[in-house]
């Protein structure tokens, strides 16, 4: 028997065929051929349900060729079984079309051969079900007769947006983006992913490379990205030990300042690999001043358009520096990403400092693919929860005791009426104020003699004042 349908889907409309109408066939029996389907990295499953009106009898003629086939032949048996929850012979009178598609990022392209009157079908598209939520279908453009381009609904869009947004949001604010990594969770791949994103957006990317060679840095990028990268090599001979004259004159500071003075118009991204190296070789104050100049270049130049932002991406190795320099760089940064992880899964804790807004936090689990694109993950696999042993019945521990835990009525009354010795009640107040006959109060008669020096602050005369 085919398995039951998976997620809670929408309730099936009771498809009562109106009396007298011609028997209709399920238009849904037409095989929806989905282009771009079966992407294993699909994020959401979109099932579209269209309910058709009664006046479709005209189409039934075209569907005649399908009548002979067993139900579910058009789509993979597995999908069909899932949708319909098992079905016997083709049911007449049903009027819903179920498509179950795995959506890739972007759009779903669905073609429905066999349905002539697509415009009517399109008008009848009521609901788009994304796993977990039902969203009203957006208005759809109708392509050719056999093709139907579907923009995924809000829910799907939200999911794919998350993937795009992490890199975009890191680059959105502009200014300095600080990537803090450690020995165990390295940050260079995230830096390269951001560089790739900037390059694909059409920006020119300048890289000040101090820690890895140019070949190693460019590894993994394809040629069109590599053509947009300008690598300033501080790796080969930063301190001018070889004295060949190949190095950039003035050393690292001059190289950094040269980046500030670039006159190339247009948005630009500057990647510093790494800030730690610069911090170890330059005084902290100089570096911070230069960084500030670098990231606020567009405000200095009056002729640049407001849309042009300078992105400065800095890679910082946390363990190499004390809290002072770390704090300074952190306060200079508009976006700060701290990399860590658990159980083999990397995570980024992102702090956004948007201008005139409160800082916001976000934590994202991700992994970087070999081509330096980012893939978001749900989180590390959780430890399996230990099950409570069902065989042991829960026992009432107050049964079968050798002592009595319960109070009889008399005992309870006695307990409630008891006045506690140190509780001040009205009776006690009376007793103190009016000492009765039966009370034996003691009095102390004291006559200080000549040698007694009664000091109120020190009555026992034992303080060393």
């Amino acid at each position: 028997m085919t398995p039951a349908p998976p997620a809670p889907g929408p309730p099936r409309p009771s498809s009562a065929s109106p009396p007298g109408a011609a028997p209709r066939h399920r238009e849904g029996e037409q095989g929806p051929r989905v282009a771009g389907e079966a992407a294993e990295r699909g994020t959401e499953r979109a099932a579209q349900k269209a309910t058709h009106d009664e006046g479709k009898a005209q189409r039934n003629g075209e569907l005649g060729d399908r009548r002979g086939q067993p139900a579910g032949a058009h789509m993979g048996g597995e999908w069909h079984g899932r949708i319909r929850g098992g079905c016997g012979p083709r049911q007449r009178g049903a009027s819903s079309l179920h498509l179950c598609i795995r959506a890739q990022e972007g759009s779903i392209r669905v073609s429905l051969p066999g349905i002539v009157n697509l415009s009517t079908t399109h008008a009848r598209l009521r609901q788009v079900l994304v796993v977990g939520e039902i969203v009203d279908a957006p208005p759809l453009p109708c392509g050719g007769a056999w093709q139907w381009v579907v923009t995924p609904s809000e829910g799907v869009r939200r999911g794919t947006r998350r993937i795009l947004e992490m890199l975009e949001s890191l680059l959105a604010i502009g200014g300095l983006v600080l990537l803090r990594d450690s020995v165990e969770w390295e940050g260079r791949s995230l830096l390269k992913a951001l560089i790739k994103k900037s390059a694909l957006c059409g920006e020119q990317v300048h890289i000040l490379g101090c820690e890895v060679s140019e070949e190693e840095f460019r590894e993994g990028f394809d040629s069109n990205i590599n053509s947009r990268l300008v690598y300033h090599d501080l790796f080969r001979d930063p301190l001018n030990w070889s004295e060949t004259g190949e190095t950039l004159p003035g050393g690292p500071l001059e190289a950094l300042r040269a980046l500030c003075r670039r006159t190339h118009p247009g948005p630009v991204t500057i990647a510093l690999d790494s800030l730690s190296w610069l911090l170890l070789h330059l005084p902290c104050t100089t570096l911070c001043q230069t960084l500030h100049t670098l990231s606020h270049q567009d405000s200095c130049r009056g002729d640049s358009s407001p849309g042009e932002q300078v992105h400065v991406l800095g890679l910082l190795h946390e363990e190499l520096h004390g809290p002072g320099p770390l704090g300074v760089l952190s306060s200079l940064a508009q976006t700060e990403v701290t990399l860590s992880g658990a159980l083999g899964q990397a995570s980024a804790h992102i702090l956004y400092r948007r201008p005139q807004q409160r800082p916001t936090h976000q934590t994202q689990w991700f992994s970087i693919l070999p081509d330096f694109s980012l893939e978001l993950q749900g989180g590390p696999p959780l430890e399996p929860q230990p099950y409570p042993d069902p065989r042991v019945p829960s026992m009432d521990p107050t049964t079968h005791l050798t002592f009595n835990l319960r109070l009889s009525k008399k005992e309870r009354e006695a307990k409630d009426s008891l006045t506690l010795p140190f509780q001040f009640s009205s009776e006690k107040q009376q007793a103190l104020l009016c000492p009765g006959l039966g009370q034996a109060t003691s009095h102390i008669f004291y006559e200080p003699d000549a040698y007694d020096d009664l000091d109120q602050e020190d009555p026992d005369d034992d303080l060393d004042v």
Binding site: E211, E216, P238, L239, H317, E319, L320
Partner: protein
């Protein structure tokens, strides 16, 4: 014999350190920093390395892929060299040996463990960031053992391989023998099995 063929070049630090004091000062010496008052830099040492490992194309068979073994860098710290200078030295060694001559550099650093040694920590972490492969040898958490001398944790830092899910970190236990070390998986010592 490898030494005679020129395959192995050995700089013995202790002996050479004594030589520094008996030479005229004009001649450059790899351990020149011992004579300098400030922390200095290790450029003479680097130049010695460069000279020793430079591939000879003088007709005889050239040795491929040089390997530089440094034992060990923590000693340089205790001799007064700054952590940044040592990191620069390794940086230059990497630039020359690894990038130019496609060789490898293996360096040993002692972990100060509980002792709070900031310079050593900077050196250790800085070196960790420069490395593609980190091998951490440590004792067993449970104490000393006759058959298992310690465990080795291997951490890859370079995500260059196209195969997706590769183990970033492995742990082996080892036993040191006379001229050999035998490795086995955790708990799989031959003494136990």
């Amino acid at each position: 014999t490898a030494r005679e063929c020129g395959q192995l070049v050995f700089l013995e630090g202790l002996k050479s350190a004594v030589d520094v004091f008996f030479r005229p000062q004009e001649e450059p010496h790899p351990l020149q920093f011992l004579r300098e008052a400030n922390s200095g830099n290790l450029q003479p040492l680097y130049e010695f390395v460069q000279e020793a490992l430079k591939p000879m194309d003088s007709g005889e068979a050239a040795w491929r892929c040089p390997v530089l073994l440094v034992d060990d860098l923590s000693v340089l710290l205790s001799l007064g060299v700054g952590a940044v200078a040592v990191l620069d030295f390794i940086h230059y060694c990497r630039a020359t040996v690894c990038r130019e001559w496609k060789g490898n550099v293996v360096a040993l650093v002692h972990d100060s463990g509980d002792a709070e040694d900031e310079e050593n920590d900077i050196l250790l972490n800085g070196l960790g960031h420069q490395s593609h492969l980190i091998l951490r040898a440590e004792g067993l958490a449970t104490g000393f053992c006759k058959d298992v001398h310690g465990q080795l944790r291997i951490l890859w830092r370079r995500p260059s391989e196209p195969t997706a899910q590769r183990d970033r970190s492995l742990t082996y236990q080892y036993k040191i023998q006379d001229k050999n070390v035998s490795f086995f998986a955790k708990g799989m010592s031959p003494a136990v099995l």
